[in-house]
Every structure is written in structure tokens, then in C-alpha cells.
Symmetry: C2
Subunit: 381 residues, 2 copies
């Protein structure tokens, strides 16, 4: 008798959220989520919180925080005003708002394959049809008929692959969007976690016309538990996204907005970020060395220039869900690669390993376990 | 060229949010929002915040908070388990999740007329068709063909009318929902703000079959800036709402969850709530006396037994939007009644006045100004 929306058959659980529920078990070594290292969290400055932060606030966010983010965006090349900045309850919310803005049943969206699975979850739910965007040849996807209203990309330390677009790739995508009138939705949660020199200028900053949404997160550089992110968008989109934000949760948590603003205006900010990058670089290198010792016979990978993940292509076709089940039994969690793909055109198996959360002892032990399990794993039939 | 969703033409700004942006001006006397009194906010206990609150958390919410809310719900007659409790980023989010779960283009929803305007905003956006629910005769609306998948009600100190359902009305609505298989969505943000004895038992607790969602808020009894609410639902709805929550923002702010749990488990909790009720009762009575002195020639009202609002029926047909513009020029804000109605069948004009936010001096001054403006207002042509 329950009459649910026609969207509901497209509502899938997020595999990563399901796994996160499991890894809360004590002693579990997790390479699964994109969890920051617990020792990366800054000291919260909870003294002197202004009382007005407890009252209802503006849907767009705190004016001081919007102005600070605007200055930060200008410093990375994105021309904008504070009025174009919208504070989000985490950048996942930006995906929900954009899906509401653009996606009806059967609306085509161009995106990388593989890509962030919780974005796939939201776009699917609203009925999107996916068109593969090859970042080397973006005009192929964007010249399709009927026209594609928007494309979603993670150009900098992509999730799950870790890939970072070159400046040429950025230019090409921007040109293709301008030519076709495609709205560019650039998701950029990892940009601050950079370990090697590489191009990180927002693709949105290459646009000379058209509409765009650039999205950032404070979950990776500050603290995910505070659930705070932001988007900046072309002026034409501001009123729509503001109203969608109103309707979604009135406004974002003001205490989090206050705490994040303190961090952004801390004189030690750059020093803290540099420290974070150094810690993660060291972890990345430790992880790479451990991988070489344990998984080289079973997989191939590139060492990522930024972000939080190694993306492994397994040498034999493997049932990674079954592997995960066995790994969890042995106290280790990782992300199977398959849910990141919305369509498959090779028979390889992939796994995504996070290197930021576990400590060095756990990394060695966990990768050793994974190696043992892979050595016992037969090719999938 | 911008290709937006077919939903977007139904996306309206929330009038209350627009007014809230104006009333941030210094010196403005606001009777507009449902803003708690600033002196009602508890002292935050921000020392000893566990570090894990900064990490990603469970989509469903913190287990301890869910367990505490479950105990609280049982104490008011709602039979449930902690697994049926979902923590929300404010109760507005629950409306968004339920709209996603139930509402397609042209889906009929039964609701009170007038009702909470930000609920109307969300339901309209998803394409709902509204069917008027008369709380005295709920079976009339719910027996319509095609069947109505869900009804949305605020039975306790309704927004905007302040009305509280009797136990007979509660029984009738529950019976009608059970007979017709209509899902009951009971929004209950004001229940703790009670000033006179009246029936407040959740209607969901009268149901012996069928599906239901009961929603509560910490914005009125604790602090809206923390953006925390919750819902409890029948077991069949748990997996859907959990996944919708995942997709919307991964999970709610953990710091807020921690701070609210501290308050709920504070030995002084009942004493603080009693103090809050006493303060608001005193304000309500002061407001009622001031109203009598200033607006009696122009309007009729009942003194509400709970909640935050007086609902005034103006004696002459008045353009309340024009009145609001003039009032704002004179430093006073209120809510015109019209946006709370989704269809009109009388020619009366209404205004909603909040009594919790302004102090006594401001109440007297603001109502005097409103009285003067109404004395100069001619009947709308």
C-alpha cells in the first residue's frame, strides 16, 4: 500500500557509508573511507563563541566566512564576489542541490568513469543518464545530441583514481563547456592535499562565458565532523542555489562556520596546512613502500601527486566484493573499485586504498593481510 | 541556454527567509521569525569534546543520541527502538527527505490550510498537489481518489495558527490514516513550549498499523544555530530515509550532536525547560496584554496554549505585504499570513506575530507602531 516516489527504485545505499559502519569496530584497520588522520585535526577554539551563533542565521552563510572564502578563491585564480559564495552543510550537499537544479528523469550528465560514488548515488536517484567524459577528449561527450546540461568532474586528485588534469586538459574542458553551453560542476575537495608540483588552477577560472559551480570542502583540511563545505557559482545560478539551500536545511551550522572561520584567519594557517601536507606525504611514501613489498605481485598503481588514495588495478580479474568480505573477517577494510564505475568496458578489477587514516604499524599489517588474501584468491570465473 | 530541471519553475523563495535577511539590521524589532529568545540559550559545554566528533560519523547519527531520543519518545508514548531514530541537520531536512521519498509531479498530499510555509515550499518544488485536511473531518480528505500517499500535520501548537488538536481529533486522524493506508508525517517542533494543560500525545502513537514519521527539533528548546533535529519512523521507512540522509549530507554535524546530548542528559534539563516555559509564558502574557492595548480595534486572536506565535485575523481586508513594507520602514517586521495558505476560501487577512524573540520594551514599541500603521490602513480594493 506504501506509495513511494518513482525515484525510489533508483535509490541505492552508498557502499562507502555501509563499509564505514563496519569499520567502527575496534581494531579494524581501514583503508576504506577518505578519512583524515585523527592527528590532523586542529585544536578547536571554543572559547568566546559569540552567542548569536546559536540563533537562526542566513541561508547563504555567515558574511565573514563568505568574504574569507571569496578572498581564498581569488587567490587561486577564481574571479568572484562574496555574493557568489554559498556555505554548505558539507560538499555532499552541493551535489544534492545541483542534482535538484539540473536533473530530471533521463537528463544526461557527462562525468568521468570511474568517479565519486556518492555523486553517482545522488544523480542516479534523480534519474540521470550518464555520458562518459574522457578528460583527454571532452568535446566528444559534450557534442552529443541532445545537449548535455552539465558535466561533473573532479580534476584535481580525482576520486578514486588520484589523477590530476594538466593545464592543457583544463583548457580543453573549459573550451568544450563554453562552446556547448554545458554548465561545469567542478568538485575540488582534495586541492590542499598536494605532495608534488602539479597544475591545480580551477577549471572554472578558465571559463570566459557560461555557467559554473566550483565546490570546496573543509572536511579534508579541517574536520569532517563539522560538516562544512562551500560552493561558488556563476551569478545566474546564485538565486536558484540559495533557494534550494533554504529548502534543504534553512542554513548551515553556525558554530561550525565560526570555528572554520577562526582557522581560516589563523596566522598559523599556512604553517598548519604545510604540516598536514608533510605528514600525508610521509604517509603516502610509507604506504607506497609497503605496497611495493606486499602487493607488487598482484596489482599495479601510480603514486598519487595529491589526495588521499591509491588506485590499484589488480593483475587478475578478482571478485573484490568477496575479497572485501574476507578482508573484513581478517580486520582490514578497503573499497572495491566497481561501485565507482557507472559502466564497464574492461574486465580489470580495481581497489581503492586510503593512506591517510591508518598509522604506519596498521598500514604494514593491513597491507600484509591484503597480500596474503590476494595470494589465495583465484581468478574470478 | 541554461537547461534547468522541470522542477525549477516551482522553486519559490521562502518569504520567511527573505524577511529574516532584512531583520538582521540593527534596531529592527522582529515579530517575524520563530526565533527563540537569545536569553533562552543554554551554556554550551565545549570543554572535553571527544576528538572523534571531528571525524566522519554514521549517517543515522550518534548511537548515544539516538538511544536518548528513543527513551524520550517512549516517555511521551511513542513506541520505538533506537534503530528507528534518524538524526537530522534540522527538522527542515526531514521535510526534504520525506518529499524525496513520496512526492512526484502531481502527487496529492493532505495538509492543514494554512500550514508551515517552508514545508509548502519543499512539497511544491517536488510537484505536489495539495488537498486540504480539515482536522475536524480528516476522513473527507483522506478518502479521496486516487489515494493520498501521505499527510503532513503540525497537531501541537500549529504553525501559524497555534492550534492544538484535542485527543478526539488525534484519534480521528489516526483512524483515518489507518483506514486509508495514508502515511502520517507529524511535525512536532513546539511540543516542549507548553503554557497551559493540553493534549500533546503524538498522533503517531495512536497508530496500530501503517507507516508514520514523527519529527522533532532542538531549535526551539535548545539552539537553532546548531541545526539539529530528528525523526522517528515506522520500521519499513528506515532504510529509505537512511539512504536519503546519506545522499543529502552524509551525516549531521557531530559537534552539535555531542552538545545536544550533553543537554539532554543534564540533570538540570527539566529545570531548564521549566524555566524556558516560564519565561515564554510571561512573554506570551505580556504580548497578549500589549496586543489588547494596541491592536484590539483592528484584529481578533486567541491566546495560544503553546508555541511561539499569535495568529491575528484582521477585521478589514488588508494588503499585508504592503503593510509589511511600511512596517519594515518603521523598524518592525512580522509575517503576512497569506504565504501560509496554499488556497484561499475566505477574504480575511491574517498576520503572524512571534512573541518569543523581542524583549518587553520592544514588544510594546513594535505593537504600538503596528497599531498606528493599521489605523492608517484602508481596506484592500
Amino acid at each position: 500500500m506504501l506509495q513511494l516516489s518513482q525515484r525510489i527504485p533508483h535509490l541505492q545505499a552508498s557502499p562507502i557509508r555501509e563499509i564505514l559502519a563496519v569499520i567502527e569496530r575496534p581494531g579494524m584497520i581501514s583503508f576504506a573511507g577518505g578519512l583524515p588522520s585523527p592527528d590532523s585535526f586542529p585544536q578547536l577554539r571554543t572559547d568566546n563563541i559569540p552567542e548569536r551563533m546559536l540563533q537562526y542565521g542566513a541561508s547563504e552563510g555567515e558574511p565573514e566566512l563568505r568574504a574569507q572564502i571569496c578572498r581564498d578563491m581569488q587567490s587561486i585564480g577564481l574571479d568572484c564576489t562574496p555574493g557568489q559564495v554559498l556555505i554548505l552543510s558539507g560538499s555532499q550537499q552541493g551535489i544534492d542541490l545541483c542534482a535538484k537544479l539540473f536533473v530530471d528523469h533521463n537528463t544526461p550528465i557527462a562525468l568521468e568513469n570511474p568517479t565519486y560514488l556518492a555523486a553517482l548515488q545522488v544523480f542516479r536517484f534523480f534519474g540521470a543518464r550518464f555520458v562518459e567524459l574522457d578528460p583527454m577528449l571532452p568535446e566528444v561527450a559534450l557534442s552529443q545530441k541532445p545537449p548535455i546540461p552539465f558535466c561533473y568532474v573532479i580534476p584535481t586528485f580525482q576520486n578514486p583514481t588520484g589523477r590530476c588534469y594538466t593545464s592543457t586538459m583544463r583548457e580543453h574542458l573549459a573550451e568544450a563547456c563554453m562552446q556547448r553551453g554545458t554548465v561545469l560542476f567542478e568538485d575540488d575537495p582534495y586541492r590542499d592535499l598536494v605532495y608534488e608540483p602539479c597544475e591545480r588552477r580551477p577549471i572554472c577560472s578558465y571559463l570566459r562565458s557560461g555557467n559554473w559551480i566550483y565546490q570546496g570542502s573543509f572536511s579534508k583540511s579541517f574536520a569532517p565532523g563539522l560538516r562544512l563545505g562551500f560552493l561558488v557559482c556563476s551569478e545566474a545560478l546564485v538565486p536558484y542555489l540559495t533557494r534550494l539551500k533554504q529548502a534543504a536545511d534553512l542554513h548551515s551550522n553556525r558554530l561550525s562556520q565560526y570555528l572554520v572561520l577562526q582557522q581560516l584567519q589563523d596566522p598559523q594557517r599556512e604553517q598548519r596546512m604545510e604540516q598536514l601536507r608533510m605528514n600525508y606525504l610521509q604517509k603516502r611514501d610509507y604506504f607506497a613502500a609497503s605496497l611495493q613489498q606486499t602487493l607488487a605481485p598482484y596489482a599495479e598503481w601510480e603514486v598519487p601527486a595529491g589526495g588521499l588514495f591509491f588506485w590499484l588495478k589488480l593483475k587478475t580479474n578478482t571478485d573484490t566484493q568477496a575479497l572485501l568480505a574476507r578482508a573484513i573477517d581478517h580486520g582490514v577494510a578497503f573499497m572495491p573499485g566497481e561501485p565507482f564505475f557507472y559502466s564497464r568496458h574492461d574486465e580489470h578489477s580495481y581497489i581503492r586504498l586510503n593512506f591517510s587514516h591508518a598509522n604506519e604499524t596498521a598500514i604494514s599489517a593491513g597491507l600484509t593481510t591484503l597480500g596474503e588474501l590476494l595470494s589465495q584468491t583465484s581468478t574470478r570465473t
